[in-house]
Amino acid sequence: MSSHSMKKYKIGGLAPLILVLSGLCLVPFFLRAYLVEVAMMYFIYIILAQSYRLIVTVHDWQLYHIVLYGVGAYTSGMLAKNLGVPVFVAIPLGGAMAGLVGMAITLPLLRTKGWGFYIATYGLAELIRLTWLKFRNPFGGSTGIIDIPWPPVIAGIDFSDRIPYYFFSLGVMLLVMLMLYRIEKSRIGDSFKAISMDPELAASTGINIPRHRLMACSIGGFFAGVAGGLLVHRLGAVDPKLFNITTTLYLLIWVVVGGTNTFWGPIIGVSVMHTLFELSRPLIEIRPMFFGLSMVLVLIFLPGGLEGLISKAITRLQKRDRVAPVET
C-alpha cells in the first residue's frame, strides 16, 4: 500500500471513530433505562472478546476465559463486600487475580499441545467454577453472592447510578482497548503475530513460545477479570451459572463471527451478535440453535468472519477509486 492511500485510510478511519464516540456519549441520555443497561453489557462483552482475541493469536483457543471473567467478578465482589475494599480498587485487583489464575492454569499444562491443552485447561477452569458451586462458605454455592456493594459517590457523582456507571464502563472499555491496541503494536505484539503466522518459524527466530503463550493467557486473563469486576458491581450479585460453558460458547460465537484477524473483528462480532441476541428474546428457546448454526456457517463459508467480509469490500471500493497503474 502506498503512503498516499495509507493516509487516506487513516483519515477515513478516524472520522467514523469520532462519530461513534460522540454517539456513544449522547446515547444514554435518550435511551430507556433498560437499554442503557444492555449497552453496558456490550462494553463488558467487547472487553471479553477483545482480550480473548489476544490469546487466540498465539493459537490457544482455550475454553477457560469465561471462568477468569468469573474469577474477576468473585474476587472484586468479595473484596468489596467482605473486606470493604473500595470498588474502584477491587476491580483491578480482581483483574490481577484473574491474570494470576490464568497463569496458574496454563503453567503446569504448557507442555500439552493443541486439544490436550484446550481440554486440560478447560478442566482446571471447571474445577474453579465447581469450587464456587460446592463451597457455600465463602462462595455462596449455587445461589452465589448477593448484596455486593455498589460503586461509591466520587466528587458528587454517584457511580451506582445508571448513567455515571455507563460512562465509567465505557471509559474502562476504551482504556482496555487502547492498552490492547498498544500491546498489539509493541514488540511483544509482533512476537504474538509471528507465532500466529508460523509457530515453527517463530521458534526458529528465537521467540520463546511457551513464555509468550503464558504472557498472552495472563494478560488476556487480567482484562477478562476486569470485565468481571465491571459486571459484578453493576449486577450487585454473582453466581456460578453466569460462567458456565454456555457463556463460553457465546464468547466463541462473537469472536468467530466477528473474525480474529484484526482488532475490529471482536468489536464487530459483539455488536452484531449481541444485538441479534437482544432482538431475538421472543424466540428464547430456539435462540441458541440459531447462534450455534450461524457460527458453524461462518466457519465453513466465511473463514475471516464479518470483519474479513467488510475489509474485502473496503479494499474493493478503494481499488475502484484508485487510478490503474501504468503497465510497463
Partner: protein, 289 residues
C-alpha cells in the same frame, strides 16, 4: 462403607467405566483419524438416549429395537457431522473444533423442542430384576452396559488389528498422506471413523437411558468426563481411552457415593491435571515431535 454398599459401588463403578469407555473410544478414534476433537460428541450420547425414550417409552417399541435404532441414529449423526462440517473445513482442525461447539447448541435445541426441555419422564426399565451377589443387590439394568462395552470395544480393537479397513483407519491416523498414497480414500475413512464414534455413543446413550434422568443438557454434562478420559488416555489411543475410562469410572463413582457428584468432577479434573503435568501426551499417547 458396608460390604453390601461396597459391592454395589464396585458394580456401579464397572458400569460407569463401561459407559465412559463406549463414549470415549469413539471420540478418541475420530480424533486419531481426523485430528478433530468433537465437542458435540456428548450430544451423540444424549440423542441416543432420547431415541430410546421416544421409541421405547413413548412409542412402545421393544427395548432392543429401540437400542438398535439409537445405534443407527448415532452413526447417521456422525456421518452428517463428518460430511457437513469436517469435510468442508478440509483439515482446518481449530475451526472444526469450534464448529462442534456451535453444534452443541443446535442438537440441544433440536431435542428440547421435540421432546421438551425439562427432565423427561423416567423410562421404565425393561428388566426389573436385580442381580444378587454376596448379599448385595445390583440392578440388572445398570450392569447391562458392561457386556456390551466389553464386546464392542474388544471387537473394535480386533477390527483395527485384523481387518483391512481397520488397518486403513490406523494408517490414516498415523500418516494420512502416506495412507492416501497406498490407495486409501481418506474421506471414506473419516466417514467410517465418525460413524463408529456416533454408533458407540448412541449405544451408550441408549443403554443408559433407563438409568439416568435424561434432559437435553445431558450431552453438555457427559462431555467433560469423556474429554478427560480421552486426554488422559492419550489422544487417539483406543487402549489408553479404555484404561482411563476404568480409572475415572471408579474415581467418579466412589467419590460420588462417598461425597457428591460435584466433588467427583473436581477430583477427576485434579487427577487429570496431575497426569498431564507429568505425562503431557497422556498415559498411552505417543509424543508427536
Amino acid at each position: 462403607m458396608s460390604s453390601q454398599l461396597l459391592i454395589q459401588t464396585i458394580a456401579n463403578a464397572i458400569a460407569a467405566s463401561g459407559m465412559l469407555a463406549l463414549i470415549a473410544v469413539g471420540l478418541t478414534l475420530a480424533f486419531g483419524v481426523m485430528q478433530m476433537a468433537n465437542l458435540a460428541h456428548g450430544h451423540f450420547f444424549m440423542m441416543g438416549a432420547y431415541t430410546v425414550y421416544a421409541l421405547y417409552a413413548l412409542g412402545g417399541w421393544p427395548f432392543w429395537w429401540a437400542v438398535a435404532a439409537a445405534v443407527a441414529v448415532g452413526a447417521v449423526i456422525g456421518l452428517i457431522v463428518e460430511r457437513g462440517i469436517f469435510r468442508p473445513l478440509q483439515g482446518d482442525v481449530v475451526s472444526g473444533f469450534i464448529a462442534t461447539a456451535g453444534l452443541m447448541f443446535v442438537f440441544e435445541v433440536l431435542v428440547g423442542e421435540l421432546w421438551g426441555w425439562g427432565l423427561s419422564r423416567p423410562i421404565p426399565s425393561p428388566y426389573m430384576r436385580a442381580v444378587r451377589f454376596m448379599g448385595a443387590a445390583v440392578a440388572f439394568q445398570r450392569v447391562l452396559v458392561i457386556p456390551f462395552a466389553v464386546v464392542s470395544i474388544g471387537g473394535l480393537m480386533f477390527f483395527m488389528r485384523r481387518f483391512r479397513l481397520g488397518r486403513a483407519l490406523r494408517a490414516v491416523a498415523q500418516d494420512p498422506e502416506a495412507a492416501a498414497l497406498q490407495g486409501i480414500n481418506i474421506n471414506r475413512m473419516t466417514a467410517l471413523a465418525m460413524a463408529i464414534a456416533g454408533a458407540y455413543a448412541g449405544l451408550a446413550g441408549g443403554l443408559m437411558s433407563t438409568i439416568y434422568a435424561i434432559t437435553p443438557s445431558l450431552g453438555g454434562h457427559i462431555i467433560l468426563p469423556a474429554l478427560i478420559v480421552v486426554v488422559v488416555g492419550g489422544m487417539g489411543s483406543i487402549g489408553g481411552a479404555t484404561l482411563a475410562a476404568v480409572i475415572f469410572g471408579f474415581v467418579m463413582t466412589f467419590v460420588t457415593t462417598l461425597v457428591d457428584g460435584v466433588t467427583a468432577v473436581m477430583v477427576s479434573v485434579t487427577v487429570m491435571a496431575v497426569v498431564l503435568a507429568i505425562r503431557p501426551q497422556g498415559l498411552m499417547g505417543r509424543v508427536i515431535a
